[in-house]
Symmetry: C2
Subunit: 364 residues, 2 copies
């Protein structure tokens, strides 16, 4: 089914309003989810809406949070999200970082007591709109085992760096620190396909290509897959995300991070509150004039796009470019949703007494 | 040959003095190289001393640089290294970052017109000594091809994050963003061994296990090795290092980065000056009391050390722990140097009229 941006946006806003969010929060949370669907990152958009609702129903998400700064210096702050939607808490925190950067050159915020914040790119791009460099990371439910372990100790803990450009789309590096994102595994599970070796291991720590291994005690592997190919580096990056997001803010870290799914209970012995994020903004003109930076980054992009291609049909992809192209296409032509997501959303609409999603095209 | 820390330190200082460095700079540069050897990162210590000397002889390293801030805000700065040793320029820049952090909570410095800065960990650990979180990255001579390309466009571009702890060694994530560091390849070249698939490709972009492939147009692969295992993430991280270090500061980036070796000439059409670094420091107490952070990070380390091991003989390694243990051992028992390095250093000593290296143990 193909749905227009505005129809999906209104639908999503109505779901958040039905959860008891304020108008302002509902619009903001919907904006974060929509950008994910627009940019082609289908795993992090409205496909997760039912997940947020279920956590709210379990009273693990507070729809009317009192988000506040609990500690700060001119350029750093710790924010307590009051168990609110990360979709709302993170943009609030990023505004704080941006304000500090406007005044002092840079701003850095560690966040506790939050929930899933959608795509990291949304938050980092808030800085880019102000001619700043944006940083965004978050910890997440434990699914990834450190090198040499078969225990789920870390989330897919994404990190994002976003840079303003001149004539090209912003450069946006937005990546899980695991070899494969969990969304890719879910796709393989649904389609009944095997996954490549190096993505997951079974409960005993043997490589497996069975995408269902995660359901029987298996775990995702860090970026690098094995020690020989640098999985200790993926582990180190994931650890960095965990420490900056949670050890620094007072959120839960490592295996204590509460699960995003409502059917699993949070650990009984928390070491902090909720999950954690880390966000930052640095003014480009804190280093050199903005136009100089953009000219050189354009030159960088141009040179990398023309790097010698192994296969002439597959040129080098600049980070953020495919998402930018998807966004232009989907804003104009609509957002495709798979049947399972549409069914989920319709069931949700009925339950919360919200107008159903209307298709731009396709069966309903 | 085994050499004492103090003997190797004096020897190294004397080499830098012979290059015309000031006493202060010679001591500092030697300190950076020594820490690498002490921490067991043999590829980045005195083994590179002849490399620095050769670049100085070609007048590509200025032994008496006038290092200065060329642009700043309260928490950001751009520093021009005046073609000095990165071993001297980077600690200068880190001091600037630390001072800004002391005053405003955080400090961030992008550096141009520099040279190889040794191990990233040295600079990041300067912040840790002040109960700050340290960040250090640098770009480097192009050896790595982006995903889908067979052209050397990026250096092994390391990134380092370092965190102060309580009872455990500092957590130090210090990693090349390529699948394997160049040093590992050099070891395989010397020993005549093949390397694992996924480290390098030949000039046409085919996987190869021949460690000499780099000499015939081959290239290193980004962390992740291939697209399926996330090499676009390694490329994205490397791009981030390149942009923060060089596009932001006005250094050379991508394929324009001048080679570290004296027998290769820098590109004739530079896009900036020298190579670039990016360093930062954030006060832990800008977010929460230092003792709280350290207690939780100790708890984090303790929990990860006890994560279920696949093989009971191989527990999870905390980033920075092996290097810390090497440092304790080598400070006490001496630093082992391979014959080729000792020969190099002795030849250097003779050429620069410096007292030869005296062994603690082993033949001379």
């Amino acid at each position: 089914m193909l749905v227009s941006e505005s129809a999906l946006r209104t639908f999503t806003e109505n779901i958040f309003l039905a959860m008891g969010c304020s108008k302002e929060h509902a619009l903001l949370a919907a904006d974060v989810l929509l950008l994910s669907d627009l940019r082609g990152i289908d795993s992090h958009g409205v496909a997760r809406l039912t997940g947020y609702v279920r956590l709210w129903q379990k009273q693990r998400i507070n729809p009317t949070p009192n988000i506040g700064i609990v500690h700060e210096t001119p350029t750093t702050a710790t924010i307590d999200g009051d168990a609110g939607l990360g979709l709302v808490v993170a943009p609030f925190a990023m505004q704080v970082a941006i304000k500090k950067a406007e005044q002092y050159g840079s701003g850095w915020v560690s966040i506790r007591n939050s929930n899933h914040f959608g795509i990291a790119g949304y938050h980092a791009l808030m800085a880019v709109q102000k001619d700043m460099i944006g940083f965004a990371m978050t910890n997440a439910s434990p699914l990834v085992a450190p090198t040499f372990s078969n225990e789920r100790m870390l989330g897919t803990n994404p990190m994002c760096y976003a840079f303003p450009t001149g004539k090209y789309p912003p450069v946006v590096v937005d990546m899980a620190t695991s070899a494969a994102a969990n969304g890719k595994l879910e796709i393989a599970q649904r389609s009944g396909k095997q996954v490549p070796e190096g993505w997951i291991q079974d409960a005993e720590g043997n490589y497996t290509t069975d995408p269902h291994a995660l359901k029987s005690g298996g775990s995702l592997l860090p970026l690098g897959s094995d020690r020989e190919h640098g999985s200790h580096k993926g582990f180190g990056l994931s650890a960095t995300v965990d420490i900056l997001s949670a050890v620094l803010s007072g959120a839960n870290y490592g295996p204590w991070v509460p699960p995003f799914v409502s059917f699993l209970e949070p650990p009984a012995d928390p070491v902090g509150t909720g999950i954690g994020h880390f966000l930052g903004a640095m003014r480009v003109d804190g280093f050199r004039p903005v136009n100089e930076f953009k000219d050189h980054l354009d030159n960088w992009v141009s040179r990398f796009k023309s790097a010698s291609a192994i296969n002439p049909d597959q040129k080098v992809i600049i980070p953020g470019e495919p998402e930018y192209e998807a966004e232009i296409d989907r804003r104009k032509n609509g957002i495709p949703l798979v049947d399972a997501v549409v069914e989920d959303l319709n069931e949700l609409a009925q339950r919360l007494n919200v107008s159903p999603l209307r298709p731009l095209k396709g069966k309903f």
